[in-house]
């Protein structure tokens, strides 16, 4: 096993969803999807974002796209127009999730994939 950042094995996009945000996390292969589906639990995501996610984290599996979809409730400091935050729409949350480190079997990592 090797510890790598999600940015080495996946990509992501985020946006707003009411007073929360969503982050789509997409693995770079079918095999890596199995790894993120196992490792990137809603609990771990909530802990990773404990600095600003005040609500629950829901997770949906979208296996056909090798993706997980996370809903981060109460993560914007109020809804889109009410929020006083710089990132009132959760545009940066995808980049933030890619900083998480997880354990990945070494045989799934190609050249340069070590985080």
């Amino acid at each position: 096993m090797a510890k790598v950042r999600l940015s080495e094995i996946a990509h992501a996009r985020s946006g707003d969803k009411g007073d929360g945000s969503n982050v789509g996390l997409i693995a770079n292969s079918r095999e890596l999807y199995e790894v993120i589906a196992r490792e990137v639990t809603p609990e771990r995501v909530k802990d990773h974002f404990r600095g600003f996610v005040h609500g629950e984290v829901d997770r949906y599996e979208v296996a056909n796209l090798h993706a997980l979809n996370f809903i981060l409730h109460d993560s914007l400091g109020g809804g889109g127009t009410e929020s006083l935050k710089t990132d009132a729409q959760g545009k940066t949350h995808g980049q933030g999730l890619l900083q998480m480190q997880i354990e990945v079997p070494e045989e799934l990592l190609g050249e340069g994939d070590r985080g």
């Binding site: 789509g24 056909n64 127009t81 980049q95």
Partner: protein, 455 residues
């Protein structure tokens, strides 16, 4: 098999103004969809219309049409947009004026109406439609007096009707973004109203298109792999009768269309991927199959869908107070400590003046340290400079106004190295909040009308 090319030339009001012109002139396209309505836009349009009954639509759209009208007509390219906002008739009148000036004849412009519920809201509530808030479950009734606008999200059917009547341009208000892509497919292919798989395919095509370049390389995680983002091509869907389609862009443009760029856009603003609800269909994103089909071409197939719901989404806007924010730039040494001291001075002086805010209505951010993703990246121990950003929100305009007067004094009364205070005192801005609710669809659909007129 018959194929039509549907492009998106505008992802939101404020998007690149050259994009739709370049989309039109850059190659073959049959339909161009243009999205101008974010939730906040309708409440802004309401204020514009109250001041001037000839306003309340997206003026950028008219500017675009003015640049390309003879060309649109000559090539037979049709344009579908929600630019009509709260005043599609005024928008059409403006387009007709342009057509007369430019000598363009036989231009047919369709107007779709019925989404605007503002004047019907009280009557609907009195008739027993509670329109409870989808997030909080509170009923709408106590808020009625404060509501400034209310619109239902309507589907593709009236847009299809306008196309059937020969419209070259279709102007809508709060139609769903996805309907602007789905409508031409229904019109061209004759899909039936319960062909859920195909309606789902057209809807998902619309979801991919609706944010413009966000599926062609914009906002892509591996941005360093995207060529010529400055010249990014706006997306085109080549749709086929069987519900399969290919996402692409014009040759010679920048950007990148790959399974990865399209996947990211598919997940954008996604809730439950198996139940993407629109007025037209319940689309199932877990059925989508993506395949790279040559450079900058992604083939999409396998899409399934199921019956639409008996409800339409309504979004009402209401004034929820005022907010204000301002920034100061603070240099090192000890930039973070100095910025925190500046914030402390502001809050303490406001408190002394009797102006206090709820903790959750007060924001204090250090841009350059941890404003966006606190706790995710290690904070720099001694950054050379930071931007202190302070903000407040309150129902009381005067309190918010008072806050705006406390930033400038720090330039002389705070620690050294504080600068960047320009542009005067931050002024209170209105906070427009949204009330998402559901309404029985027949209450809206009975009032939808389509009119196509020719100049």
């Amino acid at each position: 098999m018959k194929t039509i090319r549907i492009g998106n030339g505008q992802g939101f009001w404020g998007d690149n103004v050259d994009a739709p012109v370049r989309l039109l002139r850059g190659g073959e396209v049959d339909y161009i969809g243009m999205d101008y309505l974010a939730e906040v836009t309708l409440s802004i349009m309401m204020r514009q219309k109250l001041k001037d009954p000839n306003k309340g639509y997206a003026t950028d759209f008219v500017d675009f049409i003015g640049q390309v009208l003879p060309e649109l007509k000559e090539r037979g390219v049709k344009v579908l947009s929600n630019a009509g906002g709260l005043n599609p008739h005024a928008c059409r009148e403006k387009i007709f004026e342009l057509a007369r000036e430019q000598g363009v004849e036989n231009l047919k412009v369709g107007v779709v109406e019925g989404d605007d519920l503002t004047d019907r809201l009280t009557e609907l509530v009195e008739a027993g439609h509670e329109m409870r808030n989808m997030d909080t479950d509170e009923p709408l009734a106590p808020l009625l007096e404060k509501v400034s606008s209310a619109n239902a999200y309507i589907g593709a059917a009236p847009v299809v009707e306008a196309l059937a009547q020969g419209a070259d341009i279709v102007l809508c208000g709060r139609v769903t973004d996805t309907a602007l892509a789905l409508a031409p497919m229904i019109h061209e292919f004759g899909w039936s109203a319960d062909d859920w798989d195909r309606l789902s395919a057209g809807t998902i095509a619309g979801h991919i298109l609706e944010c413009g370049p966000q599926c062609t390389g914009g906002n892509f995680t591996r941005w360093w792999e995207v060529p010529d983002l400055w010249n990014v091509g706006y997306p085109i869907v080549e749709a086929k009768e069987d519900g399969t389609f290919t996402v692409t862009k014009h040759e010679g443009t920048g950007g990148l269309v790959t399974v990865d760029t399209v996947s990211e856009q598919l997940l954008y603003e996604m809730g439950n991927p198996e139940e993407y609800l629109t007025p037209d269909v319940t689309a199932d994103f877990s059925s989508i199959q993506l395949e790279q089909d040559g450079p900058d071409r992604v083939h999409v197939s396998g899409i399934r869908g199921s019956k639409n719901t008996p409800f339409l989404k309504v979004s009402a806007s209401y004034l929820a107070g005022f907010k204000s924010s301002g920034t100061l730039t603070v240099t090192g040494p000890r930039a973070v400590d100095k910025a925190r001291l500046c914030a402390e001075i502001v809050w303490k002086r406001l408190e002394r003046a009797g102006v206090t805010f709820e903790p959750e209505h007060r924001e204090e951010e250090l841009v350059g340290v941890d404003a966006c993703l606190p706790g995710v990246f290690p904070a720099p121990s001694d950054p050379p400079e930071v931007v202190l950003r302070l903000g407040v929100r309150d129902r009381d305009y005067d309190k918010v106004m008072r806050f705006g007067k406390e930033l400038a004094p720090l330039v002389t009364a705070g620690p050294p190295g504080v600068t960047g205070f320009a542009g005067g005192r931050p002024k209170p801005q209105r906070v427009v909040a949204y009330w998402p609710a559901l309404l029985a669809r027949e209450e809206v659909e009975a009032h939808i009308s389509v009119s196509v007129e020719e100049v």
